[in-house]
């Protein structure tokens, strides 16, 4: 049974409980039956991770999870999850009527999934974003850069070890999506993978001494959040030019190209929040997310 709210910001523990339950069912091949009738709010980030978990279940077990009483769902939730593409992943008993007359607070962008650096998929996401916001995206090239670099990073580094709780993986897979809140002119673009997490890949990419030097030099703890920040710092060019990213720092350029924007990276227990011109905020949570979620939030 779903909680009232699926959100990694406002209801992290219960949201992670849902993902954990799906993963447990995936590992143990237990029947996966989902009750969404109690869900009333969901963020694009939580919806994308949910879609990825259901997609993983479906692709590993070759059957669709079953959802009950879809006609009793909150109509706003039905509309959001339909737009996200969730209904294609599940077998729904009593499919709901999608209320097109409802104007949701946030419009979800249909998720896409793939492996490798697929520029055309990034283009398709950008086109879906522009269709959602009703105009061209001014920082489209920066978005393309960030999304394709995230895809490349997933392919190169994310799946070099088992998932956090040994749930079977779809190797090298990523999921991309987003959401737009018209009243607030707020766009969110998301990339998610089910890899081992940036903090775990860091020691494989950089010598321990360099990692330690950065952590100490910047006063960051040697925890998952600190390691995400260190990974961003170590990826910079020698020139230190903020307009020249290398791999992970490319993710910041989408933020820098917009007037009011935030980059948020959640990986294992760490959360890294970047705003141009400010020191990154680092948060260490008690439980890991499972995989890595990248979110750009742009105020248009």
């Amino acid at each position: 049974m779903m909680p009232d709210t699926l959100s990694l910001t406002h209801n992290r523990e219960e949201t992670l409980d849902v993902f954990r339950a799906i993963r447990r069912a995936t590992r143990k091949f237990r029947a996966l039956k989902l009750d969404f009738t109690t869900l009333h709010r969901v963020t694009p980030a939580a919806a994308l991770v949910l879609a990825a978990e259901l997609d993983r279940w479906r692709r590993i077990h070759k059957i669709r999870p079953v959802v009950f009483d879809a006609d009793r769902w909150d109509p706003n939730v039905s509309r959001l999850l339909f737009d996200m593409g969730l209904f294609d992943l599940v077998e729904a008993q009593n499919l709901p009527v999608i209320r097109r007359d409802l104007e949701p607070v946030e419009r979800f962008i249909r998720y896409r999934t793939g492996r490798g650096a697929l520029g055309e998929e990034a283009v398709a996401l950008r086109e879906a974003v522009e269709s959602c916001i009703g105009e061209g995206l001014p920082s489209r090239r920066a978005m393309y850069r960030g999304v394709t670099e995230a895809m490349t990073n997933v392919h190169k580094h994310a799946y070099i070890g088992p998932f956090v709780d040994a749930t079977p993986i779809i190797k090298d897979a990523w999921w991309i999506g987003g959401g737009f809140a018209p009243d607030q002119h707020r766009l969110r673009v998301l990339v998610y993978d089910q890899g081992i997490g940036i903090p775990a890949t860091l020691p494989r990419r950089y010598a321990l001494e360099r990692v330690t030097d950065v952590l100490r030099g910047r006063g960051w703890h040697d925890n998952d959040a600190g390691r995400i920040a260190a990974a961003m710092e170590l990826g910079r060019t020698r020139t230190g030019n903020p307009n020249q990213g290398r791999g992970l720092p490319d993710l910041q350029l989408f933020v820098n190209a917009a007037d009011r924007a935030t980059l948020r990276i959640l990986s294992r227990r760490g959360e890294y929040i970047y705003v141009e011109g400010a020191q990154p905020q680092l948060v260490e949570h008690s439980r890991p997310l499972g995989g890595t979620l990248i979110q750009w939030e742009i105020n248009l």
Binding site: A117, G119, A122, R145, E149, H155, Q244
Partner: protein, 110 residues
């Protein structure tokens, strides 16, 4: 001095992405080996036009251009003579590419 012009979007792909062949079909390695090196091995100065694409990630650029030096095909000084890079859509890419070329170090051959 004769010039040979390559437009990445028209002569390679409008959505280049990724570093190496196994990252995807239109990677930096693919561009370097299939398009750039054959052109640079000719007698002309090669002009690479970066316009007409969706954009570039650093992995693509570093592999495509830094890889010319790192893989030992050219030195940075040779490329200064043989290569020109242009972009009206995003001129910052030009300096970025030359930074990758300057910073690349040839791989040691065992």
């Amino acid at each position: 001095m004769s010039l040979r012009t390559i437009n990445v979007g028209k002569d390679f792909h409008r959505a280049p992405a990724g570093r190496s062949f196994d990252d995807g079909p239109y990677s930096g390695e693919a561009f370097r080996k299939r398009v750039l090196i054959p052109a640079l091995e000719g007698p002309d100065v090669v002009v690479v036009e970066l316009d007409d694409t969706e954009g570039y990630g650093s992995s693509f650029l570093e592999e495509a251009f830094g890889g010319l030096v790192r893989e030992g095909r050219f030195t940075a000084d040779q490329l200064k003579m043989k290569l020109r890079v242009t972009s009206s859509e995003d001129p910052s890419l030009i300096e970025e590419i030359w930074t990758y070329i300057r910073e690349a170090r040839p791989k040691r051959v065992n």
